[in-house]
Amino acid sequence: MGFWITQSLNSLALGGLLFILSAGFSLIFGLMRIANLSHGAYFMLGAYVGLTLLQKGVNFWIAALAAGAAIAILGGLVERIVLRQLAGRTLSQVLATLGIAFIIADACLWIWSGDPIPLTGPASLRGAVPVLGTHFPLYRLGVIGIAAVIALALWLLVEKTRIGAMIRAGVDDLDMARAVGIPVKALFTAVFCLGSALAGLGGVIAGPILSVYPGLDADMLPLALVVVILGGVGSLGGAVLGSIVIGFIYTFGNALLPDLAYVILFLPMVIVLVARPRGLFGRIPT
């Protein structure tokens, strides 16, 4: 019994991290139609920026928000300076994001050296708490809570605000959105900033669990891809569901069938791609 409870909580905590990582990836993919392959690098860079702030004695939560803001600015610049020049050429844009990912990874190696470094979580969430007869780290419960708050905030933003309506319109039909006067260019920048901010924030939130090390970007990007393909591009609900499903598959796959962990992880993605190319909740085909 304890096994199932702990592993389910593990799944939810991992799902929470995956949601913070992939929500932005999904929105950018949905609106701009490009798989932003530098998303994993933004996640890692966010973690490194957070690390530096933590080492300077900044409070954990402030460090997380500041890292998110820093990555948002970087994302905005990348969108304005690089991606906009390549507007309409999706493949070129994707390749450009891949190049940026490599540049960021090398810069991180250069600045922070290659040593793996764990981030220290907030003091208030240290230690383990008894949960139904077993012990579970408090910080992971915190991650589940943070992810839920972020999901709620994004849902309110996308469903209840004017800018959210514009995003939804853009995801559904970009040309029509443009025709009715939605400032698509500004929207692109805003969404790219938002997505990058979430990646940067996610890196810091994940830091106490994953640590930060060269290669973190490449470890996380495929997971974001799987989540988004499974859940459906550009759909917030899809990102929530995809994250939770992948969290459970990843955790239980590793626990029960460790030899087949990767098969179990990627098989659902392949099946969804074949049977339902839009993903479970998606509105546009990937």
Binding site: L14, L109, S113, H135, F136, D219, N254
Partner: protein, 414 residues
């Protein structure tokens, strides 16, 4: 007439003799060309940097001269990728004409260039790659190792865990790749031969995102957990292990709590008992000088990679001295390299066995806080002259399969 002929012949002989002597002299004056395969980019870059530091320190101490000859170093970045490693090894040998190679870092890189090394017949000293069979069932005549095999320090740890620590039932968690498999296998064999039982074996993928899955499976009624991780994974695992509030003591492979990662760890590492052929805490004059020099130059303690590269350079020096710097005579040099016995190594005396693998001390270490608050691996016991075959007969050892995920078979799983 005859006189003139004789004198002409004589002068010819003299001339050719002089020519031969002068080429020999130039060869002796020319620098020795040393190739160095390291990793400057990608996930393994931290280890690569430490190897570079070890080698750079050595060359600085020797003022770039070994056995009376200048050294010219050619450094190549393999990015930790086997295919790149092969290209770089070829470049070093064919373009830069190196006479000996120090490197590469990872075992899969060493395996990738194994065929090429045989074919190019270039001596190579491994400063890090620990795959068992490189000096066991598939020895390469041109390959020697400055460090030990994956399982070499794990055999003594197995005995120590059973005999001294008195553990009966141990859970193992390791990286799911050859280095982890071999390390756990060596521990299991010696531990079970001394009456212990490995009751649970867990393997996590190298780039696993989350160790929570594995930590929550650990049998809470076992006596201890053995971890066998490399790179970032040791610290990542230990951090999460403590967060789950698991109380079992942790014993570990050398790289899990290596000085290279220990400097960024916190209380989660305290009390971990591990086993390795080096620790910055070895109490000898040679090592104290070495640690002091590394501290001065790089503001960090030397660990696995630093001492590996430094030890490889010492081994090269020892062999070169024996052949008076004549690295051009490949066979003599290789023979000298294989019979090298290094006495000024920070690890203690290091000599090679018949397979080109060191016989050396293995230290049981415990992570403690030093007086200045730094985490250190303090020596708690020294096993002298440990070979890769431990107490087993080499012939029988080599007749059984190489250590792996499933060998020796786990008969005591619960």
């Amino acid at each position: 007439m005859i006189k003139r002929l004789i004198s002409r012949a004589l002068s010819g002989v003299l001339a050719s003799l002089a020519l031969a002597l002068s080429t020999a002299a130039t060869a002796q004056n020319e620098p020795i060309r040393v190739g160095f395969l390291t990793v400057k980019s990608g996930a393994l870059a931290a280890g690569g940097r430490q190897m570079e530091e070890g080698l750079a320190l050595f060359l600085k101490e020797r003022k770039n001269t070994i056995a009376g000859r200048k050294v010219e170093l050619f450094t190549a970045d393999t990015a930790g990728q086997p295919a790149v490693t092969k290209t770089k090894a070829q470049e070093l040998v064919e373009r830069d004409k190196v006479q000996v190679i120090i490197g590469p870092l990872a075992a899969f890189e060493a395996l990738a260039i194994d065929d090429y090394i045989r074919q190019a017949k270039v001596p190579i000293i491994s400063p890090s790659a620990a795959a068992e069979d490189l000096t066991q069932r598939k020895p390469n005549p041109w390959f020697v190792r400055a460090v030990g095999t994956s399982a070499q320090p794990m055999h003594p740890l197995g005995e120590y865990a059973a005999k001294t620590l008195g553990y009966k039932r141990v859970v193992t968690v390791g990286d799911d790749f050859a280095f982890g498999h071999e390390g756990v296998a060596g521990f299991q064999r010696a531990f079970e031969d001394n009456g212990g039982k490995v009751v649970q074996k867990l393997w996590s993928p190298l780039n696993v995102a989350d160790y929570g899955t594995y930590i929550s499976q650990i049998d809470a009624k076992a006596d201890a957990v053995l971890i066998a991780f490399a790179g970032a994974n040791g610290p990542r695992f230990l951090k999460q292990y403590r967060e789950y509030g698991v109380k079992l003591p942790v014993i570990a492979s050398m790289t899990s709590v290596d000085e290279g990662v220990l400097k960024n760890m916190g209380d989660e590492a305290l009390g971990v008992i591990s086993s390795g052929w080096y620790t910055a805490g070895i109490d000898s004059a040679v090592n104290k000088n070495f640690v002091h020099a590394v501290n001065q130059e790089y503001k960090a303690d030397p660990g696995y990679y630093t001492v590996g590269a430094y030890g490889a350079a010492l081994m090269l020096e020892e062999a070169l001295k024996k052949v008076n710097g004549k690295i051009e005579d490949k066979d003599a040099f290789m023979k000298a390299l294989r019979s090298a016995a290094v006495t000024n190594d920070p690890r203690g005396v290091v000599r090679l066995d018949d397979y080109g693998n060191p016989i050396m001390n293995v230290y049981i270490r415990k992570v403690e806080r030093s007086r200045d608050g730094k985490l250190v691996n303090a020596v708690v016991k020294t096993y002298g002259g440990v070979s890769q075959f431990w107490s087993y007969d080499p012939k029988q050892f080599l007749a059984s399969p190489v250590y792996s995920r499933d060998y020796p078979p786990a008969k005591n799983l619960e």
